[in-house]
Amino acid sequence: MNIQIRKFYYGDIPEEKSSASTYKTEHDTTAWPLWEIFIRSKQGLDHKHVGSLHAADAQMAIENARDVYTRRQEGVSIWVVESKYITASNPEEAGELYEPAVDKIYRHPTFYNLPDEVNHM
C-alpha cells in the first residue's frame, strides 16, 4: 500500500499551496505498532499523556516507556494503549463542539458566596 505523507515542520502552514516536501513511503507491515504512553508522576494523581513509541506488544511498550520516559525518575506508574484504539475529536468540528460553551459563563461555579469556613474550593 502506498501512502502519501506530507511532512510539515514547525511553522509550516498546512495548505495545499505550501512548499512542504512530500515523499512516498511503503506501508511497512512488519513495523511495530505505535503506542501512546501515560505516566503517573510522584506528585500527580493522574496519569498524563507523555508521548508515543513503537513496540511489538504491550509488555514491550511498558518496558520501552520505562526506558524512554522514566529514566530521570519521572514516574511511578505507566499505562500504555495502542494508538489505533484512541478516537480523537476532529479539529474541523471545533466550532460546533466547543464554541457553544463560550457564552455560558453561568456554568462556572463562580456565582456562589462561600462561607469563610469552607476551604479548598
Binding site: 511495530w32 513509541l53 513503537h54 513496540a55 518496558e63 520501552n64 526506558d67 524512554v68 529514566r71
Partner: protein, 243 residues
C-alpha cells in the same frame, strides 16, 4: 586475604566495565530508537556498578590509586573480566544472548554477594540487584521473542548460541580469589533457568561443548585488546587529562 578480596572486586569491576563498553557500542546503532535507549541504559547501569567496585578496590589498594587509574591504566593481562562479556556484539541476537547469559549469572551471583560478610561488597551488590533484575527480564523476553520468532530470528539465535555457549562454563570455575561466594553452587540453577527460557524459545540447549577459560586470570581472547585500545585511548594519548 586482603589481596584475594581486591582481585575479586577487580574481577567484578572489569566484567561490568567491559560489558558496559560493549553495550555502549550500540549507542546510535540500535535496531529501533526505543531499544537503542534500552541497551544503552543497561550499559550505564553496568558502568555505574563497575565504578562502585573500582572505587572500593581503590580504597583497599590505597596509595594514590583511584577508579580512573584502575579502569584506564591497567593492561590486558591485568584485566580479570569474564571472556563472555568481551565477545563482539555481532547482531542484535548475539548481543541479547550475551546479556541474557550474563544477567542470569549476575542475578544468582549477586543474590549471594548481597549477604557477603564484607559489608561494602554486600551493599554494592544489593544496590545493583534491582538493576540486574530488570536486565534479566528485558534480555530473557528478547531471547524468547527471537528464538520463537521468525525463521530468520531463530537461525540468528542458533548462531549466537554456537558463538557464545563455549564462554559460559568459565563463570562457574572459581578463580583462586573467588572465596567470597561458592561459584560452583550457582551452576545448576543457572542451567535450569537457561533451560526453561530456551524451552520457551524452542531453542536447543547445547551439550558437550568444550568450555574456554582464562579471563578471570587475565588470559583473554583477541577481542579485549581492541576494546581497551578504544576505551583507554584518551588517557594513554593525553596522560592525566581531565574533562
Amino acid at each position: 586475604m586482603e589481596n584475594k578480596l581486591i582481585d575479586h572486586i577487580l574481577h567484578l569491576a572489569d566484567t561490568t566495565l567491559i560489558l558496559a563498553q560493549r553495550n555502549a557500542e550500540w549507542c546510535g546503532h540500535g535496531p529501533i530508537l526505543e531499544q537503542d535507549i534500552a541497551i544503552t541504559n543497561i550499559s550505564l547501569d553496568l558502568l555505574g556498578q563497575s565504578r562502585n567496585f573500582y572505587q572500593y578496590a581503590a580504597i583497599l589498594i590505597g596509595g594514590d590509586t583511584d577508579e580512573d587509574k584502575l579502569a584506564y591504566l591497567r593492561k590486558e593481562r591485568e584485566f580479570k573480566n569474564l571472556l563472555l562479556v568481551e565477545q563482539p556484539n555481532g547482531d542484535w541476537g548475539q548481543t541479547i544472548l550475551r546479556q541474557y547469559f550474563f544477567s542470569q549469572y549476575q542475578y544468582l551471583l549477586f543474590e549471594k554477594l548481597q549477604n557477603s560478610k564484607d559489608e561494602q561488597l554486600a551493599a554494592i551488590s544489593a544496590k545493583a540487584l534491582k538493576e540486574i533484575k530488570y536486565h534479566l527480564r528485558w534480555s530473557s523476553e528478547w531471547v524468547v521473542r527471537l528464538g520463537d520468532g521468525t525463521g530468520e530470528s531463530r537461525s540468528r539465535m542458533l548462531k549466537a548460541i554456537d558463538e557464545l555457549w563455549r564462554y559460559t562454563g568459565e563463570m562457574f570455575v572459581p578463580a583462586a580469589y573467588e572465596t567470597a561466594v561458592d561459584i560452583i553452587s550457582l551452576k545448576n540453577e543457572w542451567e535450569q533457568k537457561v533451560k526453561t527460557i530456551f524451552e520457551e524459545s524452542s531453542l536447543p540447549l547445547p551439550e558437550n561443548v568444550f568450555m574456554q577459560t582464562g579471563g578471570k586470570q587475565g588470559v583473554h581472547t583477541e577481542h579485549l585488546g581492541y576494546i581497551l585500545a578504544e576505551l583507554q585511548y584518551v588517557q594513554r594519548a593525553y596522560p592525566n587529562s581531565t574533562w
